[in-house]
């Protein structure tokens, strides 16, 4: 088997990733762990680009490295009881867990090798590429997400909504940051509109190039994070009622499209002939806003202040 320069590059990336992962996991300083985890996410997005998965590279850079990192950094502000006990496990549990880890990695590798080397015959890729022309979009990943496996995406939006409802139920928003300096304020004023424009472009481009509702939604959420960092209160978001509708908007658009298909005598979520592209764009727009608001509310940390007043008024009347 010939080893080329590409394989050396691959090995370098893999070793760097393992090193970063190990460093992020094993340190006792949590702040250092979070920063290393963000670096891990950035390196992972480079690897997605290397493995020819640009859709994933975009999503990972925005979500895996960006938003997760922002959420974790914010969480560092909360004091934790168990943080007093940061030591590594004792000798026996440590050894047992290490053995378990090696066993797991070995069986994973064994299953993986047999899957990669022993597989001949049809893969789903053939089906996906064969039907790409009827899907209404030309980006195969978007076609799988919004057409061939639309059920998965519908349920994913349900998971996202469930997580957001959990976060909203757990408490009210964090106190906003103190007023930032002129420099940060100016930067936020420049970057936020740019983020909105790029998100709109990614949504539109998702039909034929890397991009789509998830990447666009993550960028919009990043705009919310930037505004928040710039000292804005949650008041700059739309009113509570609009927020509630935006949160369920993605699922609603999906379900309505599905029922429309049933009404027209098709299977649930089967798009009518020639209308698939338009319907996918509509669903993706609603899904983008839902994803953006869900992730944004996760960073705000709970029910925005407007929601509280409204519900207490409702209770008193």
């Amino acid at each position: 088997m010939e080893i080329t320069l590409w394989h050396l590059l691959d090995s370098l990336l893999a070793i760097l990733l393992l090193g970063l992962g190990w460093a992020a996991l094993s340190g006792t300083d949590l702040k250092r762990g979070v920063v290393l985890f963000m670096a891990f996410g950035l390196l992972l997005s480079l690897i997605w680009a290397r493995l020819r998965a640009p859709d994933l590279a975009l999503a990972e850079a925005a979500i895996g490295a960006g938003l997760s990192g922002a959420l974790l950094l914010l969480a560092l502000r909360d004091k934790e009881k168990s943080e007093n006990n940061l030591g590594q496990p004792g000798f026996l549990p440590g050894l047992a867990s290490l053995l378990l880890m090696l066993l797991l990695a070995a069986s994973f590798a064994l299953a993986y090798v047999s899957a990669v080397t022993g597989h001949e015959g049809g893969r789903l890729a053939g089906l996906a590429f064969g039907n790409l022309e009827q899907s209404g979009v030309s980006n195969p990943v978007t076609a799988v997400l919004l057409n061939f496996r639309a059920y998965d995406t519908l349920l994913e939006l349900a998971v996202l909504l469930a997580a957001t409802l959990g976060i909203l139920a757990l408490g009210s928003e964090r106190r906003p940051f103190r007023r930032p300096g002129v420099l940060l304020e100016g930067l936020v004023a420049w970057i936020s509109p740019l983020l909105v424009i790029v998100a709109g472009y990614l949504l539109w481009a998702g039909a034929h190039a890397p991009g789509g509702a998830f990447q666009a939604g993550a960028l919009l959420a990043a705009a919310i994070v930037m505004l928040r960092l710039g000292g804005m209160r949650s008041d700059h978001l739309p009113g509570p009622l609009v927020q509630r509708w935006l949160l369920v908007g993605g699922i609603t658009a999906f379900m309505l499209t599905g029922y429309l298909a049933s009404f027209l005598g098709l299977v649930f979520l089967q798009y009518p002939d020639g209308r698939a592209g338009l319907l996918i764009l509509l669903i993706e727009s609603a899904a983008m806003l839902s994803i953006a608001l869900s992730l944004g509310l996760a960073y705000i940390g709970g029910r925005p202040s407007g929601w509280e007043n409204r519900s207490s008024r409702g209770r008193s009347s």
């Binding site: 020819r52 999503a59 990943v141 996202l160 940390g301």
Partner: protein
């Protein structure tokens, strides 16, 4: 021609193996940390790294070589997975914050 094709397949499989086994190691490393660490925040990071390992194995399987378009189905699965992972992380962090507040009361 056939030999060239076989060389291409070997080129592809070696890359798949490098990243797939890295994914397996990350998965196991993350899972171990999630089990043995005391700090909740460290556990949340560990679960995320463990998940990243699974994603890496998926995308490595989808890889088809330098010239070929990769399999879009695992890509779509991983894209879904990334968003589900961040929402689970956000919920876990909110639960952690609430737990600490409950401890203080």
């Amino acid at each position: 021609m056939g030999e060239q094709k076989q060389q291409g397949a070997q080129f592809m499989i070696l890359t798949q193996l490098i990243f797939g086994i890295t994914g397996g190691l990350l998965f196991a490393m993350g899972l171990r940390s999630a089990l043995v660490r005391e700090s909740l925040l460290a556990r949340i990071i560990a679960v995320n790294i463990s998940g990243a390992g699974v994603f890496l194995a998926f995308v490595a399987i989808a890889y088809r070589g330098l010239e070929e378009t990769p399999d879009p189905v695992p890509h779509a699965l991983v894209l879904t997975g990334i968003v589900v992972a961040v929402s689970a992380t956000a919920l876990a962090l909110a639960l952690r914050r609430r737990l600490d507040e409950a401890d203080d009361e």
